[in-house]
């Protein structure tokens, strides 16, 4: 009520001065799709549930005046576009905030996004194209008591579709974080070439937990002295002792010197039996570390990560897709590719246990050398690997499953035998002359379909794919350009081979025309050898962008930042309008 009063009175009381200084900015995006029936893809009105039209839209407004800002996001899903959970259907304001800064204290009341360290124990964020939003509704404070020190504290509940928080229908998230930049804190370190930053965080979730019980009957026969037999049944009821509070902590360090940059974060989570980990009581553990060395023209990057039982949600019974109520974020360690066929088999983090490794080298052969040519040539090589961790499973004699036990035993940083994902790729970028440049890429991927798509932990269905890409840009003059992409994907497994071609004609800075076809010519099922064609037309005008696309969308995983959403196949017309002001 206080916030409400503040909001209502602010414009009235502070009169002209307050208002004339202030600014309102905002942005909006509307995606509207009209779906058609398509025999080839098996799409009929009834498979569409008669929802011929889908629309996702939002409008965001931010009012800023000096140290005060307030904002709101209005969203509508009428109906949600194909691939979005039907529980998103609705219209309203799922996000609003007020923020004020005095001195070095910044307070936010309302909804907010926050990240501690790399997010291993807390990250709230949104990604519109994924339909992902785990904003926290409550209070958030940032305070810097001393230069180089930043303390954060928050309490709130998370978004769950349109469902309001009431009657303990989900948990409450509390968090504290401290970040210490030593070079700013200590005068003696100001001029040091070594930059050191340390941080630590603590997060806890409170949840009103229900009773989960298991019954186990054992029977035995007793023969009395008189020779009678008695059949006894021993009826026992066991109750899972679910924790009301689940805590987690993390510590991190970032050290930079010269061309080197090193980052490490370690996190632990207390016992948290939940639907994702099959109700086991084992603690969770994670480590994420990166090391890079770079100088002009050369960049080397190494990363590794090891996670065990780190799914952390503000409702213990929540699991599955779309991912909701996540408190933390576990980054996938593979590279996010730019070309469509290279993202046909994308990796997503396995929260119940995974080891990951990544290495990348980027080298630019200097200008005016034999190999570099007149403009220089850039070469990137990247390797990533995700594997299982070692697990010695414990089965409970009471539940018959892992539930109620520690689940399994593992040792820190152990690496299992099962490969989840592997990707080695090379990218060459070269400009031949002022009007012609090209990029060529080759990828070799191994994708464990059972693990990633079906959560079946075996190696019975591994897709091995080779992908080649050629991306050519030809500038006709200062404003007109043509771009062509040719892609091929070769595999013996899953849907077989693909070929893709795309031609774009751009007139800078406004117009854009494109024709594209992805053809699944190698599909073992002749009926599924489909052309996924698309015609695109776009118009940019400063910060407005309008585009119209007609064609077929193939089914698959759409991933952003390692979180994926399944998109079913569809045919139809898509209109997108985005605008900022």
């Amino acid at each position: 009520m206080v916030i409400f009063g503040l909001l209502l009175k602010a414009p009235v009381l502070f009169s002209q001065d307050f208002l004339s200084e202030g600014k309102v900015t905002g942005n909006t995006q509307i995606d509207a799709q009209y779906y058609s029936e398509d025999d080839k893809l098996g799409i009929t009105d009834s498979t569409l549930n008669y929802k011929k039209f889908g629309m996702n839209g939002f409008a965001n407004l931010i009012y800023t005046n000096g140290n005060f800002s307030a904002g709101a996001r209005f969203e509508g899903f009428l109906n949600p576009m194909l691939g979005f959970d039907t529980r998103f259907e609705g219209i309203g304001v799922p996000y609003w905030f007020t923020k004020y800064k005095t001195g070095t204290l910044e307070m936010t009341a309302g909804h907010f996004y926050e990240q501690f360290g790399s997010g291993l124990i807390l990250r709230s964020w949104e990604e519109w194209t994924l339909g992902y939003d785990n904003n926290i509704y409550g209070f958030n404070a940032h305070f810097s008591p001393y230069k180089g020190v930043m303390l954060k504290g928050l309490v709130g509940v998370q978004r769950y579709f349109w469902e309001p928080y009431e009657n303990s229908n989900r948990g409450i998230v509390r968090g504290l974080d401290g970040n210490f930049f030593l070079n700013e804190m200590f005068g003696s370190m100001t001029d040091s070439k070594t930059k050191i930053e340390l941080g630590g965080s603590f997060v806890s979730k409170y949840e009103k937990v229900p009773e989960i019980t298991y019954t186990k009957d054992s029977s035995y026969i007793e023969v009395t002295e008189l020779g009678d037999t008695i059949n006894w049944t021993n009826h026992k009821v066991y109750r899972l002792d679910l924790p009301y509070n689940v805590g987690s902590w993390a510590a991190r360090a970032n050290i930079a010197r010269g061309g080197f940059n090193f980052y490490v974060e370690y996190a632990e989570k207390g016992n948290d039996p939940n639907a994702t980990n099959s109700y086991i009581y084992k603690k969770g553990q994670a480590i994420y570390t990166t090391l890079s060395y770079s100088q002009k023209g050369l960049g080397i990057f190494l990363a590794s990560k090891w996670i065990d039982n780190m799914s952390y949600k503000s409702k213990f019974s929540e699991s599955g897709n779309p991912p909701m109520l996540d408190i933390n974020y576990l980054p996938a360690i593979s590279k996010e590719h730019q070309y469509s066929l290279a993202t046909l088999y994308p990796y997503a983090t396995q929260p119940n246990g995974e080891f990951g490794l990544q290495g990348q080298v980027i080298y630019t052969i200097p200008k005016n050398t034999a190999l570099g040519g007149k403009y220089g040539t850039t070469l990137s090589v990247n390797y990533s690997l995700a594997k299982s961790i070692e697990k010695d499973t414990i089965i409970s004699s009471i539940t018959g499953t892992q539930a109620g036990t520690d689940g399994y035993e593992t040792s820190f940083f152990s690496i299992g035998n099962l490969t989840f994902f592997q990707d080695i790729n090379i990218l060459l970028e070269k400009k031949i002359n002022s009007s012609f440049k090209f990029k060529a890429a080759f990828y070799s991927q191994e994708y464990n379909q059972h693990v990633i798509e079906d959560e079946i932990f075996d190696d019975k269905h591994i897709v091995k794919a080779k992908i080649g890409v050629l991306d050519l840009t030809y500038k006709l003059d200062a404003k007109n350009s043509l771009r062509m992409e040719l892609q091929g994907l070769w595999t013996e497994e899953d849907d077989g081979n693909w070929a893709a071609a795309m031609l774009e004609y751009n007139i800078s800075p406004k117009w854009f025309f494109g024709v594209q076809d992805e053809f699944n010519y190698g599909n073992p099922n002749d009926d599924k050898q489909v052309h996924y064609y698309n015609f695109t037309f776009g118009f940019n005008q400063e910060s407005n962008r309008i585009s119209l696309r007609y064609g077929r969308q193939r089914d698959g995983l759409l991933c952003v930042g390692g979180v994926c959403r399944y998109v079913p196949a569809s045919t139809g017309l898509t209109l997108t309008i985005t605008s900022s002001f």
Partner: protein, 173 residues
């Protein structure tokens, strides 16, 4: 309660929109705590260029047109700086998965402009950016005077044209 809050917000914005004064500037650069390319704290209020124009562009390592935009600008950047004194800040919205790859990528590519990290999209939200690339031009006072969404080959010519107009104090439209 929900409806009341919604109504309060609506009234609030309605009143404040009408109360705005006309100005060439679209809006002032918001002050948001993000990171420099090494991961150390950086406040966007320190985005400055001694009274000269500034270009801010949002990008990500996985964004194809962004990389093209940056490559194209990098070729011209030293000429731009010589001619106009402009400075470009390039804000990566890569999250924890790839934000640590930004530094070796930027150096490996030999990009010369200043790069900042916005791993949880705080600055992106404050600037109302939907998707990258999204480019802003600021005048010498730090006011945003022009913005542009997307990148098509050749768009960089328009950026420098706007910068020159800003320097001369000419109307942009």
């Amino acid at each position: 309660m929900k409806k009341l809050i919604g109504l309060a917000i609506a009234i609030f914005f309605a009143v404040s929109i009408f109360a705005q004064t006309d100005s060439k500037a679209l809006f002032k650069l918001p002050a948001v705590d993000i990171q420099n390319i090494n991961g150390a704290p950086f406040s966007t209020k320190d985005i400055k260029n001694g009274g000269k124009p500034v270009i801010i562009t949002f990008w990500a390592t996985w964004c194809k047109p962004c990389i093209k935009e940056h490559d194209a600008i990098n070729e011209l950047y030293s000429d731009w700086v010589k001619e106009t004194g402009v400075k470009m800040y390039s804000v990566s919205i890569d999250n924890a998965r790839s934000s640590k790859q930004v530094l070796p990528l930027v150096n490996g590519k030999g990009w010369d402009f200043e790069v900042l990290l916005d791993p949880n999209g705080d600055f992106k939200r404050a600037m109302n950016v939907n998707v990258p690339p999204h480019t802003f031009i600021l005048n010498g006072n730090g006011d945003i005077v022009w913005q542009h969404v997307g990148y098509l080959d050749g768009d960089e010519a328009q950026y420098i044209q706007i910068v020159k107009k800003v320097l001369k104090g000419e109307a942009i439209k």
